[in-house]
C-alpha cells in the first residue's frame, strides 16, 4: 500500500479514536507494526526534512551524518525512482539531488518534480561532480534552485540549504 495513503488513514483513525494504540492501527490497516511506528515517528518529527538523492553510499552517509548533526531530518534515496517515491511520501522541505544516479537521472527527476504543481515548490539543490557550465545552466533551466559542485564545502552546503529554506518560507 502507498505510504501516503497509509499516513492519511492513520491520521483519520487517530482523529476518530484519540486513544487508539499503535498495534490497533497496525491491525486495522493490516500494515506491519514497525511501519506504523516509523510513520507516526516521522509525522511527529518537526525537524525540517531533507531528501538526499545519491547512489554513492559513502557520500550519502557522510552527508547524512553531517546534516543530522545540524538538526535536519534526513531521508535517503539511491536512485531516481526512489527519489520520486520519497518526495511523494515524505514531502521533504529541500531536496539535495545528485545528477548521476541510476534509474532516471537527476535532470529528469528535477524536471518531473518541477512540472508537478504539488511538488514544484520544494527547493532542489543539485549536487554533481561535474562542474561544467552547461550542467549548471541545464539544472537552473529545469528549475533547480541551487547548484553545488562536488566535492563541496560542508559549511557552504549548509548555508545554501538554509538559504533556500528561508527563501521558501518567505514565499
Amino acid at each position: 500500500m502507498h505510504a501516503e495513503n497509509i499516513s492519511g488513514k492513520i491520521l483519520s483513525l487517530l482523529e476518530d479514536n484519540p486513544g487508539i494504540t499503535i498495534r490497533e492501527i497496525s491491525n486495522k490497516l493490516s500494515v506491519p507494526l514497525s511501519q506504523v511506528e516509523s510513520i507516526l515517528k516521522s509525522m511527529s518529527d518537526v525537524r525540517q526534512k531533507i531528501l538526499i538523492v545519491d547512489d554513492e553510499m559513502d557520500a550519502l552517509l557522510a552527508l547524512k551524518v553531517a546534516l543530522e548533526a545540524e538538526g535536519y531530518n534526513i531521508v535517503e534515496a539511491k536512485d531516481g525512482y526512489e527519489a520520486i517515491d520519497k518526495v511523494h511520501s515524505e514531502k521533504p522541505d529541500v531536496i539535495l539531488l545528485d545528477l548521476m544516479i541510476p534509474g532516471i537521472d537527476g535532470f529528469e527527476v528535477c524536471s518531473q518534480l518541477k512540472s508537478d504543481q504539488l511538488y514544484s515548490h520544494i527547493p532542489v539543490i543539485m549536487l554533481t561532480a561535474r562542474g561544467e557550465i552547461d550542467d549548471k545552466v541545464e539544472g537552473i533551466e529545469l528549475g533547480a534552485d541551487d547548484y553545488v559542485t562536488k566535492p563541496f564545502n560542508l559549511k557552504e552546503l549548509k548555508a545554501r540549504i538554509k538559504m533556500v529554506l528561508r527563501r521558501n518560507q518567505d514565499i
Partner: protein
Amino acid sequence: MWNRKSRWNIILFAVVVLLLISSIFFLWMKTNIDVRSVVEEQYQNQQLLLTRQISNSIERSLNEKVLLLEVIAKKDTGVPPDYYKSDLKSVYDVAGMFYVVEYVAANGTIVSGYPDEYVPYGLNLYESNQHRAFEMVKASKDVYITEPLKLMEGNYGSFIWIPVFEGDKFRGAFIAIIHEADLKSRYVVESNSSSYAYLLDERGRLLYDESGNYKRGTNYAELLGSDSPGLVDIISKQVNGSEGNGKYFVLDNGSVVEERLVSYSPINWYNQKWSLAITNPSSEVDRLIVSVYLKLFIVAVVSVIFIVFVSSFVVVIIFNWSKSLEKEVDEKTQELKESNKSLLEVNKKLKELDRLKTEFLSIVSHELKTPLTAMKTSSEFLQENDGCDVSLRHQMLDIIIRNIDRQSRMVDDLLDISRIESNRMRFHREPVDIEETIKVSLEVLDSIIKEKHMTILVEVQDDLSLINTDKDKLVQVFVNLLNNAVKFSKKKGIITITVETEDDIVKISISDNGIGMSSEELERIFDKFYQIDSTSTRKVGGSGLGLSIVKGIIEGQGGTIIARSELGKGSTFVFTLIKQDIEEYK
C-alpha cells in the same frame, strides 16, 4: 563524351577542313581554267601559224606561177613565131600546176597553148562572147584572176588573164587555168577528225569547204547562222584580209552545240583576196589537256585525301588526348574525392577521439571527485564536531579510509589503462598454476561472494600444466571478471569457471546465470567507462575500467577475449592464454 564546348570545337574544325578542301577544289578549277586558256591560246597560235604557212605557201605558189607567165608576157621581143608555144610549154612544165595555158592573140582568137589536147584552137573570144576579161586586162594592163568557175570539164578552176604587151602595144593575153583540185592538195591540212579548212573570198562567200558540207559560193555567215556569237566578227576580219584567231559558238535552235576555234590568214593573189581558215572545235583543246586535267584532279584528290587523313588523324589525337585528359581528370577527381573522404573519416575519427578524450576526462574527474566528496564531507564533519560520538567518529573515519582505498584503486586502474593504451604494460611472465590463481582470486572476492551467497564451480582439466604468464595480472583478470559476474548475478547465483587446453592455448571461461546483457550492451562492454551511459545513469557501481583493463591484459599477452550474453540468462566471458615456451621453465 563530347560536351557542348568540344562539339563546337569539332564543328569549327570541320568547317576549317571543308574550307581547305573547297579551296583546293577552287584552285584546281582555277588552274584548269588558266591552263585551258593558255593551252587554247597556244593551240590557236599554233593553228594560226599553220594557217599562215598554208596560205603563204598557196599564195607564193600561185603568184610564182602567174609570175612565170608575166615574165613571158613582158618580153619585148614581140610575139614569137610559135605564138609562145614553147614558152607556154616550159611554163606549164615548170609550174606543174596549170591545167592549161593558152595564148589569145590580140584579136581574141586562141592561137596556141599547152597541152594541145585542152587548147580550143581558133576559138575567138569575141565571137563566143567571152571577151569581158580579155578586154579588162587589155585596158588595165594588169593580171586578172577570176573566181573559181565551173569549167567545161565539170570541175572548178580559176582563169588567170595576163595581158601581153610589146611596149605599149597590146599583143593579146595568156590564159591559164588552175584547177581547184590542184589547189586543194595544198589547203588540205594534216587534218585530224575534227579540224577542217575553208576558204572565203573577199565577199565572204565560201570558195572551198573541206568538210564538204556546204555548197560553194554560199555566204558563210548565213550558212552557219549569222547569229552565231563571234562568227560575224571573224568573217568580217577575214573579208578585211587580216589574220588572227577567233572563236564562235555553234548554235542549234538557240542552244550552244559547240565552241569552235578559228585561225585565219589571208591569201593575196593579185586581184583575188582570199582568206584561208582552219577551224577546230574547242573540245580539241580539252582533248589536249585532258591528261593535265586528270593529273590536276589527281593532285586535288590526293590533297583532299591528305587533308582528310591528317585532319582525322589530328581529330583522333585530340580525341584521345582529351579522352586521356578527361580520364586523368576523372582519376584525379576520384582520388581527390577518396582522399577527401578519407580525410573526412579521419577528421570524424579525430573528432570522435577528441570527444572520447573529453568524455574520458570528464568521467575520470567525476570518478575521482566522488570519493573525494565523501572524504571531504566526513573530514569536515569531524573537524566541526570535535566532541561527537565515538561510533559516529569511527563511521566517518571508515568512510574516509574506504574512499581513500577506492581512490587509489581508481588511480591504479587509470594507470593500467594508460599503460595498456600506450603499450607500456609490462608482463612479468613466470610459470603459473591456473588453479592456484583462481583460488587466490576467489579469496580476494570472498566477502562479496559470501554476501550474495554465490556458488562457484571450478572445472579445471586434469592434465593442465603450468602456463607462462604474469601471475598478478592473471589474478587481476580473474578478480575483475568474477567481480562482474557476482555483481550482475542475483543472490544465490551460480558462477562456473572452466579451464581447458586446446593445442597450445588455454581457454578459460567464466559464466554466470545473472541478469545478462542486451546485444547493444554486449558490443560496448569492453569500452572504457561503458557502464556510465549517455543518460548518466549508473546501474551498478565500479570504475568502469575493469573490462577494458582485462581486455588490455589478455590481448597484451597475445590472447583473445570474447563475451556472450543473453538478457536475463547470464553472461559468459571466454579468454585465451598462450602456453608459450613453458618447457624452458621446467
